[in-house]
Symmetry: C2
Subunit: 203 residues, 2 copies
């Protein structure tokens, strides 16, 4: 199999960190997203939505959407579990992965795409007012997440999971989006320090 990879972008990195946590080696096919390589034929033929990453299996079938690709690897290589084990844990991982994606990562991405000059050709139309509106959304989320982390080592509970990967990448993406992590939030800082120190974070 082969993973069409998008370098610095958050979603391709989610899958690379996940693979690093699993200790799975997959052949990467780098795509130059800065040069709009994801709009060219090799990606478009495999994903009509022209987004990365794309996983191509040996029989030619393709999978897209980072979480779907991660779930596929979880099924093939269950250890270490990154989607939870019991029914309730699996639902909790889904819950927190979604919260961190929809309320943090998506809000940070909207601020970046709608406000950063380099995104002018990427997000058409850029709507600055919508970009600005997303900054307080991300910060409100972080205040509630901080309270949650007072009693939980990781996002979804006692065990590291895909939700921590999504959250770490959401925090990292705040830098290019020019959103400053507020003073305080000591639980978020403790958690972020811990998940960022894992070797997988370099993937």
């Amino acid at each position: 199999m082969k993973l069409f990879d998008g370098g610095l972008a958050p979603n391709p990195r989610r899958v690379r960190v996940f693979l690093a946590e699993k200790g799975i080696d997959v052949v990467l096919e780098p795509v130059d997203m800065a040069g709009f390589g994801h709009k060219d034929e090799p990606v478009t033929a495999r994903n009509p939505f022209q987004r990365l990453p794309v996983l191509e299996l040996d029989d030619g079938r393709c999978l897209t959407e980072s979480v779907a690709i991660c779930r596929y690897f979880e099924e093939l290589h269950p250890e270490p579990p990154l989607f939870g084990i019991s029914a309730f844990e699996r639902a909790k991982v889904e819950e927190w992965n979604r919260r961190l994606e929809l309320y943090l990562l998506a809000a940070v991405a909207a601020a970046f795409r709608h406000l950063h000059p380099a995104m002018k050709e990427w997000e058409v139309p850029q709507v600055a007012e919508w970009g600005e509106a997303n900054k307080p959304k991300a910060l409100s989320f972080l205040a509630i997440f901080d309270a949650h982390l007072a009693d939980h080592r990781y996002a979804a509970g006692d065990g590291y999971s895909i939700a921590d990967i999504t959250g770490m990448i959401g925090i990292d993406f705040m830098k290019p989006a020019r959103i400053v992590l507020p003073e305080g939030l000591s639980n978020v800082r403790r958690w972020y320090g811990e998940v960022s120190a894992r070797p997988s974070a370099k993937a």
Copy 2:
């Protein structure tokens, strides 16, 4: 267990349709979302993000996020499977459920929330330009989805799944969002007719 339900809103309906497909009866606790009941103590204490639905288990633990709640019921009651069976199928269901949620339902919801006068107190600030920008996003998605459905009976392949529930609700939500399903798109119409005719669609 008890499901704090939000009536007409799309996400609470996703869970009700899912439960109807599974033939599972759960006690519903109706919350008056029009009167902002989801901001009151009973919901806030169970979900600090003040969103519905919320599932409360008999031991008091709670789950939020529609897809997480559905996944919990899938684990408890695997038949009929609505998240796929094989590793590849499960990933395909995840892929299409995400596409239908992120590229269709979320775009339609953004058009509704940012343009409809009744949403003024719900979406602060309402950004009309962003609402308008989402209409072509939803329509571009539907054109690609139509091509996909030329070869597939259901969204994720041969079997009905949670992706069809998300998609059906996305199409239904186009009406209050004032987005008209374009002429043509005969495969989307065929699929929508089929999934809407299931008894679960009335849930």
